[in-house]
Amino acid sequence: MGLITRLAARRTAVLVAEVPGWGYTRCTLEQRVRSRGWRLADSPADADLLVVCGEPGPRFAAAVELVWAQLPGPRSRVQALDPADVAAALDAAAGQLADEATQRQDAQDRPAGPAQGVPATDTSVGTDDAPGDGGADADARPPAWDDPHPGAVHEGEQGHHDTDPTQEHGDMDHGDMDHGDMDHGDMDHGDMDHGDMDHGDMDHGDMDHGDMDMPMPGGIPLAGGGGADQLPDPDQLDLDVLHVPLGPVLPHWPAGLLLHTTLQGELVVAARAEVLEAARTPPAGGSLHGTTAGRWDAAATLLAVAGWSDAATAAVRLRDAALTGPVPEREAQRLARRVRRSRLLRWSLRGVGVLPEGDAADRLGHWLSGSAHGAPITLTELADLVTGLDLATVRLVVASLDLDTSVREPVEVGAA
């Protein structure tokens, strides 16, 4: 067993949760992770170690808590509040991960059911009202959260009360709809009478899951139509929409950004953005934005999302050099040339996230050449920008904006 543990330690995968304002800490962490031969994880399932950079506010902390419960184990969690803390934190984590007895005990002690967490729309977390009690308080839900125009409150939104997410599976009386049935075939919703409904005049009230006596496997309702948000289908198919929060714990994603999206297929039909704040004011100079290192960091993020890990690594190395001293000019030029020459990349980024001053490819060009540019974008504009795009393009657009979430709105786009 010793050999397995020792070998496994060489490839420790690290999931990073960055709180707005702790960008320097996150970059230092990534540098240390790389110099140990470790790597960054894509999701909690991929991760051995969760590192929280900064002090998350209550909602952010709730998200971190659920992600922590989703790490398969062996697992370890550490917090880094300052670039100077990082090395010690990683040493501590490496020790915990290597401790076979503790890890087995941890695996034994974990609950038999899944950790429940709170919905992304639950803003009551951390308030006196409902201190992180699992989001049972549906009244705290803001009106029409999936609508980009907060003015237009959908009728029937209150109907969601019936789908109390903390409801235990056992409490429900759907005798013929237990877990086992769910695993096969029953997802076709044939018994839900969607066919009789006309999307045109359907409002949220009609779609109320509770009224339809819908099965709730695991206490989670089945997907339904999106009412007013739903795009009309040319073939009159009854399609479902999914409510997908993006962020805050998501690799290659702006710190603390929470983008509520409504997905029809892979298309975002409605979006709303917000920033989850830190528990306290971040340390002065914690943000990378507007610095040389920040430029390279932004370029690295966009290259990683565009699926070019090798160029992203090269950009990250230049960023790390910029953190401690001058950027090696030759390497910088070589990377800029390599990226500019890639027709495939230009083809992928062309027309993505078009703002008055250019698209994603233009902004990447600016970061690589170090030329000044910048335009403010509000969270509302961000939501508008991503509405109508597919999920993968949304990721590219957001990465290409290099949002500085540590300042309040309007968020600055790009490095000046």
Binding site: P72, A107, A120, M187, I220, P221, L242, T393
Partner: protein, 116 residues
């Protein structure tokens, strides 16, 4: 026929190997029982199950694909006899393929190749 016996044996090796790996994993993992978990949604509880009537916006393209795919049924036997039959085999097949390519151009004009 013995060729397919070998293939069947390989399938058995693959399935047996996968089962053996699962058995080994039960012994080497920190816990044999899998961890029950909600799906990963950036740290949030899902509002609904992901398995749904998902809109595959590229489905017109699947029909175009099927037209060609059925054509492949003729393509393979044809490949073995081109040399024997000669010019007529080539002419007939490529006229047929030309018709299909005209279909592709039509589908392109109708926007079937772009879906987002």
């Amino acid at each position: 026929m013995t060729a397919y016996l070998s293939a069947a044996l390989m399938l058995a090796v693959a399935v047996g190997g996968v089962l053996a790996l699962y058995a080994v994993h039960r012994r080497t993992a920190v816990a044999a029982r899998p961890l029950p978990t909600l799906p990963f949604l950036s740290g949030w509880r899902p509002t609904e199950h992901a398995l749904s009537r998902f809109e595959a916006r590229w489905y017109p393209l699947t029909l175009l694909f099927l037209a060609f795919d059925v054509e492949m049924l003729y393509m393979y036997p044809w490949a073995t006899v081109v040399a024997q039959i000669g010019v007529s085999a080539v002419v007939e097949m490529f006229v047929f393929l030309g018709v299909l390519m005209a279909g592709v151009l039509w589908a392109w004009r109708e926007g079937a190749l772009e879906w987002v």
